[in-house]
Every structure is written in C-alpha cells, then in structure tokens.
C-alpha cells in the first residue's frame, strides 16, 4: 500500500540532510510501528509523506497504491487516502472545528466523485465518533485545537481520522500527552479502524501504546535510516534496553 524507497531528504533552506535512504513498505491490513531516538527523522518522514513545505527530496520515492505521492499537493494526498495525526496538532483561531472537518470531508468526497454530506448527516456522524472518544460537544464548537489540552488535541486528531476514514494512517506520537484512560480510548479508536484494506504507520517512543495497538512489524529508525526491523518483540527489547545495543550492533 505505502511503499517508501531509498528516500533521501534535506532541508530546503539549509544543507542539513535528515533522511538518508529510508526503505519501508506498509501492506494493507498491517500495523507498522516506528521507534527511534529523538531527532532521528521520524516526524520528518511523516511530514514529507504528507507534503509539508520546507523539505527537499534529493533521491528516492514514496508511492501510495503505486501512485507517486511526492508529486502531489497535500490535499490530493489526503483525498487519495493518506492521513497524518500530527505530533503537534495546530491551533487555528477563528476556524470552527465542525466547519473544518466538514469542509475537509466534503472536499475529499468531491475529489472522489462522491456526493457532499449534508450538515445533518455530518452532525450525526461526528457526534457518534466523538462520543466513542469521549470528546464533548462543546469542544466541537470551539475553534480548531484552540485552548485544547495536550490530550484533547491528540483525541481530536483521532476524531478527524475516524471521520475521514483514510486508508493509510500515519500517527506521530499520538500517545504522548495522553493519560491512561485517554490512551485506551485512542487505541480503541485506532483498533476500530483496523481492517484488511487499511494500513497504519505508528510512530511512538513507548511500548505501552503497542500494548493496546498490536503492531505486525516494528522498525527502529536512527540517524535518518531504518536500522532494524522485526516483530513486536523488538519494541519490548527497546523498552528494556534502550537503543544503545541496537545502534552499536548496527555500527559494527
């Protein structure tokens, strides 16, 4: 489904190289996790896939169902089914949460040649999804993420994902800042979306998220590369011993 090949990325404004040949394939129906030290390039990878400005791809490719992602505008990627839950969700004063989500959903439907969803149907849909994530109606009326707590922002990301039903979901540290109960709710939200046609790329620092969202594959990213790939046991190893052993083995 998502296929990243030998991806090299540098900053547009500086001569700083961040990704140095990333190779990664996420198959439909699978959950892949990426772990790795701070600054290793995990968020950069997610941003480059989502189409944020400021990065320059110097080599390699990334495709979604065979289509070259890196050539598309961000909104086209979204309509194609790509979704990024941001590590730092953005506050947008003056834009209502509901307006935002409805505009996004209808824009995507339009691209896919589907009919617009009416305000009534949309309200019903959002209410149902919000309830499952224990997001209260009041939050929906407020401007996007403005005045939301850290955990509320993360839940709002998952709500958007639940509403938009993307086929390829990238979650960047969605667990950080969540309390134990919220972590469970968010994981349930993710698990509810797991199906044979959908892929997940879950970036996290902690095993505890992976207790709830069982990954099929775990990757370790360091210094702009995937340095090790394994099963769920790899995450347990990191939890126990940190990255030192893995990185040392890689150096050798």
């Amino acid at each position: 489904m998502l296929e990243i090949k030998n991806l090299h990325v540098k900053l547009e404004e500086e001569d700083k190289v961040i990704l140095k040949g990333v190779n990664l394939t996420v198959e439909a129906g699978k959950v892949h996790a990426i772990m790795g030290p701070n600054g290793s390039g995990k968020s950069t990878l997610s941003y480059v896939l989502a189409g944020r400005d400021g990065y320059e791809v110097t080599e390699g490719s990334a495709t979604l169902d065979g289509e070259e992602l890196l050539e598309m505008e961000p909104e086209v990627r979204a309509a194609a089914g790509l979704f990024l839950a941001f590590q730092y969700p953005v506050e947008i004063p003056g834009v209502g949460n509901m307006t935002f989500m409805r505009t996004a959903l209808n824009a995507q439907r339009k691209v896919r040649g589907e009919e617009e969803m009416s305000a009534g149907d949309f309200l019903k849909l959002v209410r149902e999804k919000a309830k499952a994530l224990k997001i209260d109606a009041d939050m929906m009326k407020r401007p996007v993420n403005v005045g939301f707590s850290g955990g509320e922002k993360k839940r709002n990301e998952i709500l958007q994902m639940a509403v938009l039903e993307p086929r390829m979901c990238i979650l960047d540290e969605t667990d950080s800042g969540l309390d134990v109960d919220a972590l469970k709710l968010v994981s349930e939200g993710v698990n509810a979306l797991r199906d044979a046609g959908r892929g997940f790329l879950v970036i996290t620092h902690y095993q505890r998220l992976l207790d709830h969202i069982q990954p099929d594959v775990v990757h370790i990213m360091a210094n702009g590369r995937i340095v090790k790939t394994g099963g769920p046991e790899l995450a347990l190893e990191v939890e126990k011993n940190g990255y030192a052993d893995i990185l040392a083995a890689e150096e050798a």
Binding site: R52, D53, R77, V90, T103, P143, L164
Partner: protein, 427 residues
Amino acid sequence: MAEALPKDDLLAARIAGLSFPNEGWQAPARFDALARLTAMGLPGRRDEYWRYTDPASFNRAEPFPAPTFDDDGEGMVFEGIDRLRLVFVDGVFDAEASDPLALDHVEIGLLSAAQSDIHWARELYGVLEARGQVPVKRPFAALNTAFATEGVLIRVTGYVPRPIALIYIHSSDTSDAMLHHCIRVESGADVTILESGPAAARFTKVMEVDVAEGGRFHHIRAQGRDHDRRASTHIFARVAGKGLFKSFTLTANGVMTRNEAVIELVGDEAVAHVAGAAMGDGRFHHDDTVFVTHEGECCESRQVFKKVLKNGATGVFQGKILVKPGAQKTDGYQISQSLLLDGDSVFLAKPELEIYADDVKCSHGSTSGAIDETALFYLRSRGVPLKAAQSLLVLAFLAEAIQEIENEEIAEDIRQRLENWLARHEH
C-alpha cells in the same frame, strides 16, 4: 493645479461651486461650520492625522471621475434582509425607489424638507461634529455640515426590529455627493441602521448619533465595490449612561476611503464597539481613523479593525483611546491587524492610548503578517484545497471584527460578501 495653491485659495476653490443652504433651523449650524472650516482650512500632508493618507483628492474642487460598476451578478448587499429602504442616487433622495418614511417608534424626515425654525435635530446637527473637532481637526466634517445637500433625521423612541437601510446608488461618473444624517436614540430605544453602496464618485458623509440613557444603536455598513470611488466619512457619536453604540464597516475595493469615527462615552456603563473589515487588491487605500473618549465610569470600548491587503494595497489605522480624569474602571480594547497576502502591500498603524485615570484596563495591539503556513498545511493535509484553505484562514482572521455584528442574518450576508470577494481575488 488646485493642490499647489495656498491653503485659503485651496479652500475657496473647493467650496466655490457648492451651494450653501442657509435657511431655517439648520442655518446657524451651517454658518458655524463654515466659520470652523475657514479657521482650520483644508488638510495637508503635514497635518498629524494626514501623514499616511493624501487628502488631495478630497481637497479638489472637482472629484476624479469614477465609472459606475457592474457587480457581475453578485446583487446588492442586505437584499435578503427585511428593512425600510431609503434610496439615494448620487446623493439625491429617490422617493420613488424608497419605502414610505413611516415606521413604528420612529420619526423620520429629510434634511432638505421644508424648513421651519424648530426641529428636534437642531440640538444635534453639527453639534457632535463641532465637539469632535477637538483635539483633532476634521475639516471635511465641517465642510459637510456647512454644505450637505441631503440626509435623514431619525428619532427613535422605542424598540425597532426592522432595520432602516440607507442605500447609496452611484449612477454618474462625476457625482460628488454630500450627505449628513442625524440619529437620536431616545432612552431605552433600540435601532439598527444599515448603509450600503458607493453613493457617488466622491462621497462625503457625516453621521451624528446621539444615544440617550440605555439606548441601543447598531450600525452595519458595506461601502460599494466600485474600484474608483472615493469616500470621506465621519461618524460622531455620544453615548449616555448604559447606552450602547455598535458599528461595523465592510469595505471591499475603493481607490480611496477615509472612515473616521469619533465616539464619546459620557455616561456611566456606556458601551461602544467599532469594527471594520477591509479588503483591498491593487489600487486601494483604506484609512480608519478612530477616537474614543471615556468620560463616564465603568464604560467599555472596543476597536477591532482588520485589513486584508494584496497587490500593492495600502491600509491605515489611526486609533486612539482617551481616558479622561475620573473615568475609572474603564475597559478599553483596541486591535488593528493586517493580513498581507503578498509582499507588495503596506499597513501603517498608529495606535494611541492617553490615560488620566488610575483604575483602568486598556489594551492595544497592532500586527501585520502573512497567512500562517503551518495552519495552511494542517488544513490541506486534511484534504481542504489550497484556495479554500486560504479563504478559511482569511475569514478566520476577520472573524473577530465580524463578531461585532449582533444580527446573525446580517453577519452571514457580510461573511458571504467576503467569501465572494476572496473567490474573485484569488491569486
């Protein structure tokens, strides 16, 4: 060229072609205004409040011509709102096109109507304008009081649910209109005044608003889309205890607009909110010059001015809050912001606070910036197309000003106009 003449000759040339209506109850006020004007002369670039805006096109005897405008099917603003319609064409009242001047709890008449020596508006006409000449000179307001050819005199005595709409049609390329309105909101009364349209090639307007104890005045205007129109407008307001004054202005296009608002909160617990949203693309100069004086205790004032500028447009904001001695517990707020859609546009702001009481809360801020790229990316990453995302963010930028419109139906109309403007002015 007239502009090169000494000041007195400039003034002489400016008024040479105007007729001076000196009959009935208005005569004393008009003579006084002419005397004020003669004493102060017309403004020049060296005057403190004309540094950012060139008064030359208002000083000229003849207006620069402005072709009338084809709105390309957008239709007139407020058309869907149930309102009492008063139509002025190039500054001339059009009785045929207007509704009968009758509305419950409202006494309404024309400035040009037959003159007797007694009229309630005698207490108002030129009175607030004269008060507003200190400490900042406003020559075009005095010119207007002296020479205005038409206007409405509205006295409101109760709650009036139906807005009174002043509709200004521009039909001649060289029209030079001068209107002067007086509005008295009696104790406990409540009225909404709408103004719309370009009015003329050059429009000079004064509106004097006197809000008595507990009265409520709402004002929403949309200044026509004609690109070459010029306008110099003034609102002078005096708000008594527990009174409310609210004014919102939408300006989309117009080569030259100067909107002055001079508001005095004279009684305790009075409230005044003035707001504006201005949209300029290319040849556009828009100036909001606002002066709010707090005299009563526990009064609240808000100035919220937002400008969206592109392609070399210029925005000006000169806003002042003056808190007089004894105006304790004043709550004053002022914000002026511009959103520059490209690198060519200019925003000039002069926020001022002058405070002579110790127990007050006053804040002011002025910013100028581009669209937030992070927010733009966030919206797009959810599937919102670039143009739609930009529109959402521009409307979000304007939201604080639009919020000042209490009537949701009217606010929605304004919002729609803004969206249309953005759609027409996409890069």
